[in-house]
Amino acid sequence: MTRGELSRSLQRAIGTLGRPSCRRPIPHPASRSKPSPSRCLSTTAARPEELQVNEVQEKFTAAAPIDFGRIPGNRRNVLAALRVVPASPSYFSAKPTFNDDYISLCALLRKVATLPTVSPAEAPKVAWKTIEQYRIMTNEPVKNQRYHKMLHILRRLNCVHPSLMPQEVLDAMQRYKKETQPGDIKPAPGVVDEMGRAKGVGRRKTSSAVAWIVEGEGEVLVNGKSLTEFFGRVHDRESAVWALKATQRLDKYNVWGRVSGGGVTGQAEALTLAVAKALMVHEPALKPALRRAGCITRDPRKVERKKAGHVKARKMPTWVKR
């Protein structure tokens, strides 16, 4: 061996010793199996890139095509296409929201006009918004007459037969209904407790009465005393148990009543109402009969107050000519 050759081989050996063991990536098996067509077919000298066939080729996707329509950041282009227009087709009426509502309701009515209807008395009871509430909602000076025209259409829409009422009509009507409807809050119905008692409360003038009714023989106790003891007047005794008398159930129920306030007759009338309410808990079907007997309505009359310039509520001092 010549010196040059030895030194070259030595250099190579020393070089490999010194180099850290580099982990070469495992070449892709496909790249090995793929024949490089350029090497097979080309007669020219191999290019340097083709020698590194076993290198990994990462997958990539090209950039998106150029959008020549929008030039980003070009303010003049965007502003050049803008114009100011009214938001509603009813802009020039000065009441756009109201007119749009009216038009949409008319269109809806035309759509459902052929559906079967019920009479207005049988249609579900609805509390529609008052004109003041509607004006507040839309912030527009809507005229009375026109609002009532719209209410007329709403009432007609409400008369569509409930079994065939479309959901879109219900959704459209909801906007014009008051927040609380008449049937929303239903008072809890009275119950007969485990001892068979039902309670009723009644008031008249400044008297209030509470009555408990149980099935019994017809005994009556008012404030611990019997009916004849408590009420000296026969009329008052009768009116206290009028609800039972009118329905011929005097001998079927016992009454235990507690009254306070006011005078004798006021207390008797208060008991009427209390006994009637308690009886309705036992037998709800008696309501029409009791109404005919006049036991259901709470008598709203009370002592009228005295006014300035009058001697009493109505009485005026003697008129003097001069």
Partner: protein, 383 residues
């Protein structure tokens, strides 16, 4: 088995057949003796019994559908309509009133026959005429003027062209029809073309005193595709009130104030001019009968269709990126405003930060000085 519509299916003679097939005879022995056993009574009773079984030609609904609810009856009715509704002769080419509104005619469909059928030629009594309309009148019949339909057609087509071009150029077109019954036509024309309508009384001053009357009504900013662009609410608040670029009036006699305001503000108008109306009130008169709803529906329909065509052209141009209208002045992009505001905030923050640093430095100096005084070791920092 109960057979319904027996007579309809088998003919009225079938009824007679059943009567013969069941001769009168007694069925029960208990019927023989008793107070009601006279031959006439029995005869009547048997006739009545049979009458119940004979189906009538016009059955009452209660008898037939007693078992069905209202919804079921309705669906049954709809089914029968679908099956049997098209029976009978087919009538084509006849007047269907609703089509004037649901599918209005276009300018090309305007014929003299259509205008005649819509009573567009009917003028008012001759003493009530406005002589300025003499050029549009064809003649007199039974004491009333007859409007020349050629003039009507020509003026209507011209008005349609004007409306189409204004719409194509992004103009605001107001369709006005304040008489009873004209509201549907006017609303429909505005709907077709995405323009504006008025069917209640015009509030005087809506143009001359617009800020007071229309100042509260909402406006919006749209781009070339008619899509709303948000972010301009503050700028819209300060902008002047919008005015129509063209007003189409169906009853000019009742809308004198509106037409006067338009004339004062250089807004062109189109109007349906009857023989007693003043043609100089409007820029483009259409001599026709303003008292006939059908005529108004035809005219509003034609102009609505023309505006629809113009809108369509504008939107198609917008899709390509061409702007056919004048853009709004003095609008600034909300992003530019935002960046300006952000920059201001940043400057403010920087100033505050600088101030804080100064304060902090001053406090540190104080502390150091205190320490120095207490301990007596530290050297005072120069401020």
């Amino acid at each position: 088995m109960i057979i319904r519509h027996f007579a309809a299916r088998n003919g009225p003679r079938a009824l007679a057949r059943t009567a013969y097939q069941q001769p009168l005879r007694r069925f029960f022995a208990s019927d023989v003796d008793g107070p009601n056993t006279s031959p006439e009574h029995n005869f009547e009773r048997q006739i009545n019994a049979q009458a119940e079984h004979i189906p009538s030609l016009n059955p009452t609904p209660d008898a037939e559908q007693s078992g069905l609810s209202v919804a079921e009856q309705y669906h049954l009715y709809k089914q029968q309509q679908q099956l049997n509704g098209r029976l009978g002769s087919e009538i084509t080419e006849h007047y269907q009133p609703h089509t004037l509104l649901s599918n209005p005619p276009s300018s090309a469909d305007v014929t003299l026959e259509l205008l005649l059928a819509s009573e567009a030629h009917q003028g008012h009594a001759t003493p009530l005429w406005n002589p300025a309309n003499a050029r549009y009148i064809h003649g007199i019949r039974q004491g009333t003027h007859i409007i020349s339909l050629e003039a009507t057609a020509a003026h209507l087509r011209r008005a349609a062209k004007v409306v189409q071009e204004v719409s194509r150029r992004g103009g605001i077109i107001l369709f006005v029809g304040t008489r009873e019954g004209q509201d549907h036509a006017v609303v429909r024309a505005a709907q077709l073309s995405k323009q504006y309508h008025l069917f209640e009384r015009w509030i005087p001053g809506s143009i001359t005193n617009g800020q007071q009357i229309l100042g509260r009504c909402r406006t919006k900013v749209v781009n070339e595709k008619d899509e709303e662009v948000t972010g301009f609410e503050d700028q819209l608040y300060d902008r002047p009130v919008l005015r129509p670029d063209l007003v189409v009036c169906m009853n000019p006699l009742e809308n004198y104030v509106l037409l006067h305001e338009c004339a004062l503000n250089n807004i062109p108008t189109i109007g349906v001019i009857d023989t007693n109306a003043d043609p100089t009130w409007v820029t483009y008169p259409i001599p026709a009968n303003d008292d006939s709803l059908r005529c108004i529906q035809v005219i509003a329909g034609v102009l609505g269709r023309a505006a629809e065509a113009g809108t369509k052209q504008r939107l198609e141009a917008g899709e390509k990126g061409e702007i056919t209208y004048k853009p709004a002045h003095n609008l600034t992009l909300p992003e530019a405003e935002e960046t300006a505001a952000a920059e201001k905030e940043k400057l403010g923050e920087e100033k505050e930060a600088v101030e804080l640093d100064n304060e902090l430095a001053a406090k540190l100096e104080d502390i150091a000085n205190h320490d120095g005084r207490r301990l007596g070791h530290r050297v005072k920092h120069s401020a």
